[in-house]
Structure formats: C-alpha cells, structure tokens
C-alpha cells in the first residue's frame, strides 16, 4: 500500500525526516510513534500527498479519493453546520447514498442531535468527532490518523477504539501518536518510529 525509500523532508534548513524506509501492506495497522517534533505528522502528510518529499521516493497505491486523513485541524468550516460540512465533503467525494452514510456516521459518533448546529459552536471533542466522521465518510482504503484521540472524552475515545477495531484488517491504517499504549495491541506487530 505504501512504499517509502530514502524518504527525506526538510523545511528550510530544518531536517524533519531523514532517509525513512517504510513498507506498509494492504490491511496493515501501523503505529507511528515518537516524541513531539519527531516527524510523525510530516510522514502522514507526505503519505496523504499534502507535502512533497525533499528527497527519496514515496509510492502510495491508492488515489486521494480512497485516502482518509485526520490531522491536527478538523478541516471543517466553523460557519457551517455539522450536516452541511459532511454534505460538502460527501459531494466532493461523490458518495452515493450520501444522506444515509452521513446520518449513520453522525449517529455512531453521537452528533446526530447536534447535526444542525454550527461547527463553530462545538467543543473541541465534538469537533474531533465531526472530523472523524469527515475522515471516514468516503470509506477510505488508507486511513492516516494523526493523534486521533486528542480532545476526545472517555466516551469519544471508546467510540474511536471500537471504530479502529472494526476497521482493522479491512482498511490500511497509519496512526501517529506520541502516546502509543492505547493502540499497541491493535498494531499488526509493527511499530514505526519517526
């Protein structure tokens, strides 16, 4: 699914990733861990196609229509409601039976009641749940999750745990976290250190 060779990334003079070698097979659950500033986010952004490597090669088997990316920002418009945000992404990803899919995700992540509220009025945890709905909306084959448990309360974290368990084996997952304990049992025997 992902093949990185001699992958390096610099921002100006700052070396963020240096000669990374990574092979991720279809269906793998890979945990990318390391302290803050170790390049986890950059690695995920490179895999998502949001940044270009300074050196080396990175091959991702699937196109961006099949990639789900959850970064530090929820990537939702604060002036739009939860429903409008997901409708927008649903249209851009050309999801068939969009309404049903959106409704199901909002229900699953406990946002159905708040669906007509503007995202700007959401708490950080609700925004993270909405971001997860956005990320999973198009049923991506490759999921790139950067610190997905951030801001989630116990209930939200449990929902995400369940979701990751369900996705395991189907989708390919690359999850970056500085606190890997929760996810180690899920990783397919491999940890990547950025």
């Amino acid at each position: 699914m992902i093949r990185a060779r001699d992958l390096s990334k610099r921002f100006g003079g700052k070396r963020v990733l240096e000669r990374v070698e990574l092979d991720v097979a279809r269906g793998d659950f890979v945990l990318v861990t390391g302290p803050n500033g170790s390049g986890k986010t950059t690695l995920l952004r490179l895999c998502a196609g949001l940044a270009a490597p300074t050196r080396g090669t990175l091959e991702v088997e699937v196109g961006r229509a099949r990639v789900g990316f959850l970064g530090h920002e929820p990537l939702v418009y604060r002036e739009l409601t939860a429903l409008e945000n997901l409708e927008l992404y649903g249209r851009l990803y050309r999801i068939e039976e969009r309404r049903e899919r959106i409704g199901m995700l909002l229900e699953r992540f406990g946002l159905w009641e708040a669906r007509r509220e503007r995202a700007g009025s959401f708490s950080r945890g609700m925004l993270q749940r909405l971001a997860l709905c956005r990320t999973l909306l198009h049923e991506p084959e490759l999921l790139l999750l950067d610190e997905p448990f951030n801001a989630l309360d116990a209930e939200g974290a449990a929902l995400l745990d369940r979701e990751l368990h369900e996705l395991r084996g189907g989708a390919t997952l690359l999850v970056a976290t500085h606190d890997p304990e929760r996810l180690v049992p899920l990783a397919s025997g491999r940890l990547a250190f950025a």
Binding site: L50, A52, R64, H72, L75, Y77, E79, E84, R94, R134
Partner: protein
C-alpha cells in the same frame, strides 16, 4: 465535465453560505467603495471630468482587493485548504468556485457603487462603462483568486497580495479607464476580453501548483 461543474457549484455554494452567515466581506466592501466615491466627490471640483471616471476604476480595484484579501480567510485560519486539496475533485474547481463567489460579491457591490457614481458625478455611467466593469471583474477575480491562494501560504500575506495583484491589475485599469473615457470603447473592451481569456487560462492551469507543495 458535469462532475467538474457539480464540484464547482458545491464549493461556490459553500463560499456564498459562509458569507451569508459571517457577513464579513460584503458590508466592508460596500462601505469602502461608497466612502471612496464620497471622498472623490468632494475632492474633485469638476464632477464630470475624466479624472472622476479614472477614480471609479481605482475604487473598483481597491474594493476588489479588499474582497480578495478575505477570499481564503476560512481556509487559512482553519487549515481547510488541506481538506479541499485532499478531495478527489479537480483542484482548479476550487479556484473557479472562489472566483465565482468573489465575482458575485464584486458585482453586488458594483450594483450599489455604479448608481452611486452616477449620482455623485454628472457624467453618469454609460453602457461602455458597464461592459468594461463586467469584463474587468472577470479578470480581477481570475488573477486575484490565484494570487490570494498564493498569498495565503506566505507569512506576510496581507502585504503580499497587493504586491502581487496591483501590478497585474494595471492593464485592467488601463483598459477600464480607456473604455470609460474614449470615444471608441470597443478597442478597450476587446483588450479587457483578451486579458480575461489569457489570465483565466493561466490561473486555471496553474492553480493546482499553488495549492500543492
């Protein structure tokens, strides 16, 4: 093609909805252009002069600049450009949608500004001027949207946009003023049309490289 237009429509609708909810750009543009026209009215002794028509174009370009400066504010402040770039739509649809939304704001502002100009200055607004303004709007928004996306990635973005935009808007001002004051406006309208065509194609083709690293 249908998909491309559907993506553009969805994105443009989103931009119009954001403005409808936030009401941040349009009122500022209206206030700015009316203030400029009032100031010009009191500054000029001959209210039917070519200078007044020239200043109309200054007002239009700077008002457009105000709108363009806010075109990518939501995307910049919330990092949303990543979300749009990740979506499987053609990236130029993002540019086209922003262009259409900014164009809609500019046209709405001009629906107030042109009658105000006709009220303040005795020369009035003729068909040539209206056509020139329409053509200029397309060029301003085509180039401006591309440059606004470039500026959004920079650190001195408030400074960068005018620095990039104003030199490229000079031909529009020349064509617009020419169409407004010359006996034969056709030549200048043709020039504005050509400008629109060339720069719209260039902006459409290069937008993808601006929003991706």
């Amino acid at each position: 093609m249908t998909r491309y237009l559907a993506d553009t429509a969805a994105l443009a609708r989103k931009d119009l909805l954001l403005e409808l909810r936030g009401r941040e750009t349009l009122p500022a543009m209206v206030l700015f252009v009316v203030s400029m026209l009032v100031a010009f009215r009191f500054a000029l002794t001959d209210d039917g002069s070519d200078a007044a028509r020239g200043l109309l174009w200054v007002a239009i370009v700077f008002t457009a600049l105000l709108g363009l400066g806010r075109a990518f504010v939501a995307e910049r402040e919330q990092g949303l450009l990543d979300g749009l770039v990740l979506a499987p739509c053609d990236r130029s649809a993002i540019w086209l949608a922003k262009l259409l939304a900014t164009l809609a704001f500019l046209v709405l502002v001009e629906l107030i500004a042109l009658p105000a100009f006709a009220l303040f200055f005795s020369g009035g607004v003729d068909v040539g001027t209206v056509l020139a303004v329409g053509l200029a709007d397309v060029g301003i928004c085509a180039v401006g949207t591309l440059l606004a996306a470039m500026a959004v990635a920079g650190r001195a973005r408030e400074l960068l946009l005018p620095l990039l935009f104003l030199p490229l808007a000079l031909p529009i001002v020349v064509g617009g003023v020419g169409a407004t004051v010359a006996e034969d406006a056709g030549r200048y309208l043709g020039f504005l049309g050509l400008y629109d065509l060339i720069f719209a194609i260039l902006a459409w083709a290069t937008f993808e490289y601006v929003v991706t690293e």
